[in-house]
Homo-oligomer: 463 residues x 2
């Protein structure tokens, strides 16, 4: 049966575009584990939407399971593959098809790497605002399938808001072409929404039209410090109102995380002393350098006058900006001294974050085996990351920690995954974020759109 | 069977919440045709999600068709009802459940009127940015079901971008509760997207959590004039870049439309002379009165210096602002002198609008029976409205006009409905906006989620 399947695939793909056996040795299923060879029935490397469609028609007819590969940076097991699974890797569909600077859109195949998009539009004074650490590897198809977020969601939105048009291939090979570059289209169901964030379980994204923004030319950055969470919320509202559309970052760092983040080298020396409970990194993007700086400074002064903050420092040069952001972004400063680490990506209503994290710290400290607890995150988006250092990788400790971080989320309308998705790794906790009726409806959709259950099987839920 | 159905409904609803027979005389199915009594089997007036669920369970079991009523302002026949159909009107579910000014969200039942939401949040310095002419009647359930747009889409997005959480009841009575007030949630499929813009065919929206914005406090408005469409696009990019998030309106009015809009009374006298081909109404919303005005004025001056415009006038008082907007918004100035009128709401890529409309004018002028042609619209959103004056209401003339406006849209990736939806009236043109595979997938979804086809039957497409 497997040999027969490969024979059938060979009829629709050039020989060099199907890898089997020893050819899989150089392939991996995650960018962090490049030393581990890929376990798969075969890897197919389509170069067109029609080839993706042909491959899927064959897999659908043969009930062959398919796992979709992009840049392999997924954080929840989305690209883990077994020996009986066909890999479809979009890496050869890596063409930028059009940049339309009047309609502010770029049309790309799904194998294009995020950073390539950034570079392609920069010279035109345009910006594709999605940005995160893995930009040099992550492909746009995977980014769309996982509705990635990142650093500038506050101003520009998650991936879902940046997709104007989409092409996807369904499990049976049908090509759904919704490749419009228009902003408004209320003609029937907005089908692209089904493929964004569904982790490749409802269809394979093959092409997209992405929204571009006019690039900002001014950037103002500061660290602020306060001692109570209520002040954090008040400051968020104050700057969001005062900066009227320019506020692009509002990152919160808890005191102990800040101390660790700023203590490993001079490159991350502390911009503010270790005297406060909360440190806020704030960023504004605008287009009038002088006025924007004056406005930002004046807003900061108002927070001092009104005693809304205890301390503040503004970046005065590009190297200051880099320094300020390096503190927040270089997660290695938190993990390097850990024996083992466990990461979280939860979201909850902004007003409730302070109390929730306080409570979690208290409970985590009581657990034997928990050695470090660091919280920080995109607080304006209600999105908090936790990194827990622990003494062993056993299931018992892992589950105990999960339980503390996740269990209170259901009652307050939070989510076990703000950005990273569910994949294979968070399946057991889906029912904290979602009701039984919601999960049933997900299954109804999956069954209707992929009746043989071949696409990224077992991701998000089991049918 | 009908009597039996009503008996069953009476078991789950108080007597006063089911209207039949003569009680329907005071009801209508559209706010523009209040003199026409409603034709329906009965009207049900649920007061809770559970009652909506109970009604739908009965209708599902009995294969009884259901039409959902909100504020009855729909423009594409969404609420037209027949004698064998059960109406579910959400008017009694009109409670604002919570305003959370920290998380910037409002939780409402779906019968709440848009203007009521505006008023409820204004005192808190917050804004629900969705706004359009029917705000005094339109209910939020219908607004969500039709993904309404309106005046400030450029800055704040259509309804889809403003819905954080949603509750909907499916055809079989299952309640899908996704009432989270969080901004990021990548835990499984984003089910609310299915109910937004699907015109009540996949479920009935019963409650929602809506995103609020900090209210802006400065508003700058101007009219600009140019003679070629390329300059329009250039100006859009210039102001979008220069105003960095504050640009909230960029409305284009074609010369002949402008002449008509500004000639009926002193209240709409022309702010600029009748010397140009295109008139642009531009609006910026900010929060620093003095700086914002100076910045807006300085950008205007730059457009003069760089010869990007031929003429401009800025509003210098709130009454100027009102005057400038009245010109654009009071559509009666266009329709009052028409024998009959036909309206359009198309969208297309921004860069192609100039040529497309020019061509449409040329073709329309050749048609016997076409008496006036007025184009104007939200050009930044690629959304143009056409109002055609014509001598008769015959099908032949109507279809001939439709053909000219719609037929070129397919080739350039446009849409026959930017904002208003498809409903019953635009069904014949759905295939211009969407491919056969897309329409097939819509039917697959409809069949999976409403297997008996009871919800708003015949809207968008026939199964």
């Amino acid at each position: 049966m497997n040999a027969d399947l490969i024979n059938q695939l060979q009829l629709v793909l050039p020989e060099s575009r199907i890898l089997t056996g020893d050819q899989l040795k150089d392939r991996y299923s995650h960018i962090w584990y490049m030393e581990d060879s890929l376990n798969a029935l075969c890897v197919t490397l389509p170069e067109s939407t029609e080839q993706v469609s042909s491959i899927l028609k064959i897999c659908h007819k043969n009930n062959a399971k398919v796992v979709v590969h992009g840049g392999l940076t997924n954080l929840v097991g989305g690209t883990e593959t077994n020996a009986d699974e066909v890999v479809i890797s979009l890496e050869r569909m890596n063409q930028i098809e059009e940049i339309d600077s009047d309609s502010r859109s770029i049309t790309v195949q799904s194998g294009v790497i995020l950073e390539t998009i950034h570079e392609a539009v920069a010279d035109l004074g345009l910006l594709f605002p999605l940005n995160f650490g893995a930009r040099g590897s992550a492909q746009i198809g995977g980014i769309i399938s996982s509705n990635a977020g990142g650093l500038r969601v506050l101003k520009y939105g998650m991936t879902r808001k940046l997709v104007l048009g989409l092409e996807a291939v369904m499990a049976d090979g049908a090509i759904i072409n919704s490749m419009k570059k228009i902003i408004k289209d209320n003609s029937g169901y907005d089908l692209k929404q089904l493929f964004i964030g569904s982790e490749g379980t409802l269809g394979i994204v093959t092409r997209a039209v992405l929204k571009l923004e006019e690039a900002p030319s001014s950037r103002n950055v500061a660290y602020l410090a306060v001692n109570d969470y209520k002040s954090v919320v008040k400051l968020l509202k104050f700057f969001d109102q005062g900066l009227a559309g320019k506020l692009s970052g509002f990152e919160l760092i808890w005191r102990n995380s800040y101390e660790q983040m700023t203590s490993t080298s001079d490159a991350v020396r502390p911009p503010l002393p270790y005297d406060y409970e909360y440190y806020i990194l704030i960023e504004a993007l605008g287009s009038q350098s002088e006025q924007d700086q004056a406005e930002f400074q004046s807003l900061l002064e108002t927070t001092v006058e009104k005693e809304m903050i205890l301390d503040a420092v503004m970046a005065h040069s590009p190297s200051d900006v880099e320094w300020f952001f390096r503190i927040r972004e270089d997660v290695n400063n938190l993990t390097d001294h850990m024996k083992h680490d466990q990461h979280f990506d939860i979201s909850l209503p902004v007003a409730l974050i302070g109390g929730y994290i306080k409570d979690a710290y208290k409970k985590l400290k009581l657990i034997k085996g928990v050695e470090q607890i660091y919280a920080f995150g995109h607080v304006a988006d209600g999105n908090i990351h936790f990194i827990i250092g622990k003494e062993n990788t056993g299931d018992s400790l892992r589950l105990e920690i999960n339980d503390i971080i996740y269990s209170g989320l259901k009652a307050i309308g939070g989510s076990v995954s703000a950005e990273h998705g569910i994949g294979l790794h968070k399946k057991a906790y889906l029912n904290i974020s979602r009701t039984p009726e919601e999960i049933q409806l997900m299954k109804t959709l999956k069954t209707a759109m992929d009746p043989n259950g071949i696409l990224n099987p077992g991701r998000i839920f089991d049918v």
